[in-house]
Symmetry: C2
Amino acid sequence: MSGHNDSTMHANQNENDLHAIVQTSETLANVFAALGDPTRLKLIAVLCAGGAFSIAQLTANTEISRQGVTKHLQVLADAGVVRDVKLGRERLWQLEPGQIEEAKRTLEMIGRQWDVALTKLKAFAESA
Amino acid sequence: MSGHNDSTMHANQNENDLHAIVQTSETLANVFAALGDPTRLKLIAVLCAGGAFSIAQLTANTEISRQGVTKHLQVLADAGVVRDVKLGRERLWQLEPGQIEEAKRTLEMIGRQWDVALTKLKAFAESA
DNA sequence: GATTAATGCAACTTTTTGGTTGCATTTAAT
DNA sequence: ATTAAATGCAACCAAAAAGTTGCATTAATC
């Protein structure tokens, strides 16, 4: 036998994609790290409302200082998850969902790869 | 008018769900934080292959010490992303994809909420 | 022009993280 | 019984993160 039917090739492709992304993408871990803080997750949940919010507005929902919030927003911005626009004396922040989409796709890929692996293991067990 | 058609209610439900999850889930930020490191992402990519791997095996793919890898595995375990089984003098690690699925669903929710918000803004702009 | 609101910038402290080394322990193999 | 392999455990270190305070700056408003 060839050892490679169609579904096997797709499975290997998926596995290679996943490893390639994880190995090469400098920013992916950064995105996850940016999401890995309760304060920043709350900020994102607020920004999901779609508008552009000032630092003062965003600080109102937190327990920490305005400068602390600014630092968190900067972390999110460095990860490409939010962006800011200047308007008068205000600095408005809004969501930039591209990187979050990318992170979501990676998690989907992990889930798919896991499913593929389970299927393989099951097939192996049944062949024994 | 009522101000609440069917799609608006679904949108609000989604928004409330998102805020509830972000506010209450202590572990969600932990999961993202666990994913937010290149070494740990690579470990996960390896574990996606489906098997159970020893610490020594997992160390082979990295640049850091065995004890360093153990620490990373412990972080992943604390986040519920991997689990270990003892087998003889080895300690085998495998993926536990439940929390990753949960994280993925959160990112999906963020994306949906964002889309809903854009639709609302568009409708508002057209009504003006 | 003086005031005030919103923010920027910088120094500083504390805690966490990522990593190491050294040695002890457990278990398999000879 | 000895030896070797795989791991556990603890101390330690450096760098980064999370947060603060104080003061400077910018830009509306009266």
